[in-house]
Symmetry: C2
């Protein structure tokens, strides 16, 4: 595999298969879920890859484990560091705990207590910083300098992308007859790995990205060929507010058919459908692919589609019970 | 099998196996779910039978299908009737639709619109009545007289009990090494079928019932040997506010080790644990067995326990999103 130092290096199928072997005892081979009633509503045959049932509740465990278990012993002993207020921080903490090495996670000082607790429960150190990109990067650099820890980026790293690609590899192994696979797109790590795995194993299968219309930077970047930025925005799918890197954009341009967008109302409707019909707790970002299928029924009518339910870490502090 | 007319008749293992063959194409063989993190919290090894993933979202589909498909053609043609504002009504509507026969469901006029819709979506007729036991029974009798429809009681019927017992039969087939099985107890149909199946297949395996302390009529009936009534009460587990029948009490006294009770706080904690850790939407009644295990850790420490997650039909009108 090309080194992480090369800004455009991407894993190939062999690297994704190597990742699969490396992480097999560390993560779940997640089940594929179906629902006759959801299929009837969408007008397509959907096969949901349940990454919300993955270790730490999201696919991120795959990439973090592959990166951490790719380090040589000397590197590993000095530990790993990342910045994340979400699932990648918990995933890196989990992977480091499994390898028995130290981990530091830089988080903005306004990160919710529950997200800090998610990292600390695996024994990682939380470093709080001001809630700016500059503060975050300098805090990471400081830990790397002080401790010699290796930075594991949330998505802009071929080892992480290879790990994320193992979810789609399992899906295509289980269901080689799918017409298409759709996965959410934030920084593009999951979608890059998905595109590389699917196109290599099943070239006639199409791969789509899914993102909120309120955070449509990937769709615009895919069209323009440049990494487009995102103006300050609000979307319930807060995990998808990240922009692509040149590396993930290159992977998308090479292997993705298109990026589909959806409204905020469709995201809530999709989450509710997953709750009510399938009894599955899926976070807003994870419901975005189904939301896109609901809003673009004609485009996907009659197809057999793999849908990556990427995570289930809903902040239950934002859910409440109304006593009747 | 003894006829439903005999007030104490119960199915035996052969009847439960016959039910399993009869309904196999009509219901799901539900998966068994596990969670290392929940096990660590409870201090036991739990194997959750996922009946919240069953057709209509609850185990009730099993009993209703067995009853409806046990009718001879002439009986079936005249249709079926029941009273239920909950899962049994939807289950009977589903079973009747699968057999292509009419169904009537008597519901109190104050039943929520969503529950009426759940019955109507399978083509059953809803008959509204005053919210009293007398009005409900006379409305049922009226439909039976007018149409010749067969009454399918929610639990006091050997065919229904045999159907409910198929869930535990599958669980014990999948996991013959369990030490115990725990299931919720309302009218006792599920728990009776569970006790009969488990004790016949695996005599050294213990069976426990679970109910809210706020609706502990089954625990009191089990102790006294008489069907004890329940004073007007409130519990979040509204599906478990039903009292036993002489038939189900006899089954419990013959095959159940004990009835364990839990607080309302434990029910909410158990639901939250199922949501947050296992990403599963389980209704309050379905979370009661886990709530009992959480409140009686010492009693169950170190055991391998099958836990029936009986249903997932949470009223999402009672769940709301707090926008942060």
């Amino acid at each position: 595999m090309a080194s992480a130092g090369d800004a455009l290096a991407l894993p190939d199928l062999a690297a994704i298969r190597a990742a699969q072997r490396r992480i097999t005892a560390l993560v779940h081979r997640t089940p594929v879920l179906t629902s006759a009633s959801v299929d009837a509503d969408v007008g397509a045959s959907l096969h949901f890859k349940g990454e919300h049932l993955q270790k730490i509740g999201a696919f991120k465990a795959r990439g973090a484990c592959n990166a951490v278990f790719s380090l040589d012993d000397a590197e590993a002993a000095r530990g790993v560091v990342t910045h994340s207020s979400g699932n990648h921080g918990a995933a890196l903490a989990y992977a480091a705990a499994r390898r028995g090495i130290p981990a530091w996670v830089v988080m903005p000082e306004n990160a919710p207590a529950v997200k800090q607790a998610n990292v600390r429960r695996f024994g990682a150190q939380v470093r709080l910083c001001a809630p700016t990109v500059a503060a975050r990067e300098s805090a990471c650099a400081e830990v790397a300098r002080e401790c010699g820890a290796t930075l594991i980026h949330p998505f802009d790293d071929p080892r992480v992308i290879a790990g994320q690609g193992t979810a789609a590899l399992e899906l295509v192994e289980d269901l080689p007859e799918l017409d298409a696979v759709i996965a959410p797109c934030g920084g593009g790590g999951l979608l890059s790995g998905t595109a590389i795995a699917v196109r290599a194993v099943a070239p006639r299968m199409q791969v789509f990205g899914a993102e909120p219309a309120n955070a449509d930077d990937a769709a615009r970047s895919f069209a323009s060929g440049r990494v487009e930025t995102l103006a300050p925005t609000t979307t319930i799918a807060d995990g998808l507010r990240t922009t692509l890197s040149p590396r993930t954009l290159a992977a998308l341009r090479a292997g993705v058919e298109g990026i589909v967008t959806c409204s905020e109302d469709a995201i809530v409707a999709a989450m509710r459908m997953l709750f009510e019909r399938m009894k599955q707790v899926v976070e807003p970002s994870g419901a975005v692919p189904l939301a896109c299928l609901l809003e673009h029924r004609a485009r996907f009518a009659g197809l057999r589609i793999g849908v990556v339910l990427s995570g289930g870490n809903v902040g239950l502090d934002r859910l409440c019970w109304q006593h009747a």
